[in-house]
């Protein structure tokens, strides 16, 4: 097993399945079933869903990679490819490892390469022939690796609870057909992974909830929508209210309003929606409201490519909102970090009363991966409060610029003001007061930097002469590329992007540094050039909406560090 490319993955146990078909054929669900199958074998799993912005038709696929070792990305070199339709067959021809098995729908393709199965005709017998097609995925896999039929049936029934009889029958039909056609079974080792897997957005949602989130506001926008859906379904249980208002502008302003009532609030969106929140973001800076913004990027500009991945919003996120005010921007490099970091960010923002951003991308938001987190390790910081009944000033000058909070009901008025104001929160245009309040807010920026200096702000993986700078979900691609290729290199990933932990990053700068990112304008590399004087020998970038394939990336890295 391994990769389709010249460079062969060094992980002997790597096993990848790709299932492709039309939207509405249950491709995503098929991926889930495969993931579950691997998980039950104690294997580590990474699932990436590639789909288009449409509800039926088009071409979708799920790539599910697994191994007995911890792994960080899906692969595009597959050991088993299941093509439910013709388009899929054509698209994934190249995605096969040398020994890989290619299954195609022989009702749509005559004399294809690989193993033809008359999937469409087989499915015709059943009530929902189109929807049932996806069940073929896991059935083929089970047959190929020699899983017994009973186990297959029970897995199918747990993943597809509706229409059990039909599913069982179809699944058995496919299984038998494959056993008939494939001579020998492939070997699949069991592992000792005990973790469950989750999509990044659910992890982010759970991280925020564990740190005390009260209310989540969002307007649907791919790839952030599943956070909203998560809270809408599970919020009752977790004590998090989910609200879907008329627009992103309403979202952001409501979220600020909620903080005034004392509620911890978060919003989530993608680039276009985040753009609409610019004014409110600035308002949060001015009134000192700790709203947490989740920005999950997709290719831009404008509406871009809604269901794909990119890192083109970095500069925008770092400079969001007009005027001078402090903000914290952080980006998780994997699922576990997404959990802890979201929790930390919520606490940090409440500590410093300023808005902040968890910046991520479709690749992390919507991919699923095994994850081992311990919610009890979440640090929660209680914000500074004014406990007395008298003497309250919302914008009290303090040494660190942080004024104690107070929430209604309150005997004394608590005045949050989006115009420039005095300590009480009354509007001012007096020069000394303007200057003093600017300094107060600016102080927090300084204090936040000091705080971050005591925190873990940069992840370093591996070691070696060669240094690879990356961030966000691209970290997953880089780590998997190194893991599978055996290339020796040190991966440096800033978790915080503003303030940027230059003090840490500078330690790693050398003349054998490269940058890996997903932006045509190489925004991340530019940031490092600007802030730590990095002069990368090469910038590896991908900007076609797809995450890197680890083996392809490994080749590029190898070339770059030669």
């Amino acid at each position: 097993m391994g990769s389709k490319d010249d460079l062969k993955a060094m992980d002997e146990d790597l096993f990848t399945v790709i299932i492709g078909g039309q939207a509405g054929q249950g491709v995503k669900k098929a991926g889930e079933a495969v993931s579950k199958f691997f998980l039950e074998k104690g294997r580590y799993v990474f699932e990436m869903d590639d789909y288009q912005s449409l509800i039926r038709g088009g071409h979708n696929f799920a790539s599910v990679s697994s191994s007995t070792e911890e792994l960080f990305s899906h692969h595009m070199g597959a050991d088993v490819v299941v093509n439910l339709d013709k388009t899929s067959y054509e698209m994934h021809k190249e995605d096969l490892t040398p020994d890989g098995l290619n299954f195609y729908n022989s009702d749509e393709i005559e004399n294809g390469d690989g193993i033809g199965l008359p999937l469409t005709s087989m499915s015709k017998e059943f009530q929902r022939p189109k929807l049932i097609l996806g069940v073929a995925g896991i059935s083929i896999l089970a047959a190929v690796v020699g899983e017994d039929k009973d186990s297959l049936v029970s897995l199918v029934n747990s993943v597809y609870p509706r229409g059990k009889e039909d599913n069982t029958a179809f699944s058995e039909m496919v299984y038998d057909e494959v056993v008939d056609k494939v001579e020998s079974t492939l070997d699949l080792k069991e592992g000792d992974c005990r973790n469950r897997m989750f999509p990044g957005n659910h992890v982010i949602a759970m991280g925020a909830a564990s740190a005390g989130l009260d209310i989540y506001f969002a307007y649907p926008m791919t790839p952030a929508s599943s956070i909203l859906h998560f809270y809408a379904s599970h919020g009752d249980k977790l004590g998090v209210t989910a609200v879907h208002p008329e627009s992103e502008i309403a979202v952001a302003n409501m979220a600020i309003g909620a903080t005034i009532a004392g509620a911890r609030s978060m919003v989530g969106t993608s680039g276009g929606g985040f753009a609409l929140m610019a004014e409110a973001f600035s308002l949060a800076g001015m009134v000192e409201s700790p709203v947490l913004f989740v920005l999950s990027s997709r290719p831009g500009p404008a509406t871009g490519v809604p269901t794909y991945t990119e890192q083109g919003d970095l500069g925008f996120a770092l400079h969001q909102g007009h005027g001078d005010f402090p903000r914290i921007v952080a980006s998780p490099g994997d699922m576990e970090e997404a959990f802890y970091l979201t929790a930390d960010m919520l606490s940090l923002l409440w500590k410093y009363q300023t808005p902040g951003i968890v910046l991520t991308e479709k690749h992390l938001s919507e991919s699923s991966m095994c994850m081992d987190v311990d919610p009890s390790k979440v640090r929660t910081v209680e914000p500074r409060m004014h406990e007395e009944d008298t003497g309250y000033k919302r914008y009290l000058f303090t040494e660190d610029g942080v004024s104690p909070l107070k929430f209604p009901p309150s005997k004394e008025a608590i005045k949050w003001n989006g115009e420039e104001h005095d300590e009480y929160g009354i509007t001012t245009s007096r020069s000394e007061e303007i200057a003093a309040m600017h300094e107060k807010r600016h102080k927090k920026e300084v204090v936040i930097i000091e705080d971050l200096k005591d925190r873990h702000t940069v992840n370093v993986y591996g070691s070696g002469e060669n240094v690879i700078f990356t961030y966000g979900s691209t970290t997953l691609s880089v780590r998997e590329a190194l893991r599978c290729s055996g290339i020796e290199a040190k991966v440096v990933q800033p978790i915080y992007l503003k303030p940027l932990p230059t003090w840490e990053l500078k330690k790693h700068v050398n003349d054998r540094s490269i940058v890996v990112e997903q932006s045509v304008a190489q925004q991340f590399s530019t940031l490092l050039e600007d802030k730590i004087g990095l002069e990368p020998t090469s910038v590896i970038k991908r900007y076609d909406g797809r995450p890197f394939d680890p083996m392809e990336l490994a080749e590029k890295i190898e070339e770059a560090i030669k």
Partner: protein, 281 residues
């Protein structure tokens, strides 16, 4: 006027401005509400940006001086954060019927339990008198020196169309009457809208006209359609409650009795719930 609702901030409205009438009516209404048992500790305000917004500085009540056009969204957020609070949003006609119109109509649509008071002076006063959504056709301002070419909107019909459950019009020159409307609006369970005819002595000094034309309504109309007929009248300007209806309010429908701030789970409980969800052993 120095009282416990006064902040002591310098008032910079023009002498004679209709906003003074609104301020007085609000203070009266708050006193009245306090007598009725609503502590002002539970009253929270939000304001937009414009001359009207300055009421934020003059009222010694908790709240937020929001953005131009966003006071309704702010108010909704406050209410959802802690449904125990009574929230009043103050807007301008430019602000609330222009820049922020969508928030207003959606707050009405979802019957959000807040009160909105619009200082409707038919102009963008603070920015030197440009035509606003309620300015009459032909209105001259610095952006329409030859007169605005647009017909005005009639806000109450729009709100009624959007599903507002309490719709009223007041007049800054009738302080007592207005204060009663505000009391009723705040007490109304659900979305209450009060459009206030507010002369700007600088740009729209309509006191004489209003004094002549306003006419107090005795009773709200029974149907939305009748209320609309009333709202588009121009020979007289009815003031009072045009329409009122009880309907389920948003936050109760969404969260029942739950209060995000008051009923927040303790850390341990949250951790436990998440552990459960994660399958952590």
């Amino acid at each position: 006027m120095s009282d416990d609702l006064d902040t002591g901030a310098e008032n910079t409205w023009c002498t004679g401005c209709g906003n003074f009438g609104i301020l007085a009516a609000v203070k009266k209404a708050v006193k009245k509400l306090e007598e009725n048992g609503l502590s002002k500790e539970n009253l929270v305000i939000s304001t937009g940006i414009g001359c009207h917004g300055k009421i934020f500085d003059y009222l010694n009540l908790s709240g937020i001086y929001s953005l131009h056009g966003r006071e309704v969204a702010s108010a909704e957020g406050i209410k959802l954060g802690n449904p125990k609070l009574k929230v009043v949003a103050f807007g301008g006609d430019g602000d609330c019927y222009g820049e922020g119109l969508a928030h207003l109509l959606f707050a009405a649509k979802r019957n959000m339990d807040i009160t909105v008071i619009v200082h409707n002076n038919g102009a963008y006063a603070l920015t030197t008198g440009q035509a606003s959504p309620t300015s009459p056709k032909g209105f001259k301002g610095p952006a329409t020196p030859k007169g605005s070419v647009e017909r005005p909107i009639e806000p109450l019909t729009l709100l009624l169309s959007a599903g507002a459950t309490f719709v009223a019009r007041g007049y800054a020159g009738r302080v007592d009457h207005l204060s009663k409307l505000i009391v009723e609006g705040v007490k109304h369970p659900g979305f209450a809208h009060i459009d206030v005819l507010q002369p700007s002595v600088v740009f729209t000094d309509y006191y004489d006209e209003y004094n002549e034309l306003v006419k107090k309504l005795e009773e709200p109309e029974e149907t939305i359609s009748k209320a609309m007929q009333l709202a588009i009248k121009t020979d007289v300007l009815p003031i009072g409650i045009f329409y009122r209806e009880e309907a389920p309010v948003y936050h109760e429908e969404l969260m029942g009795d739950m209060n995000p701030v008051k009923d927040r789970y303790k850390r341990e409980k949250r951790i436990e719930l998440i552990e459960d969800m994660l399958g952590v052993e």
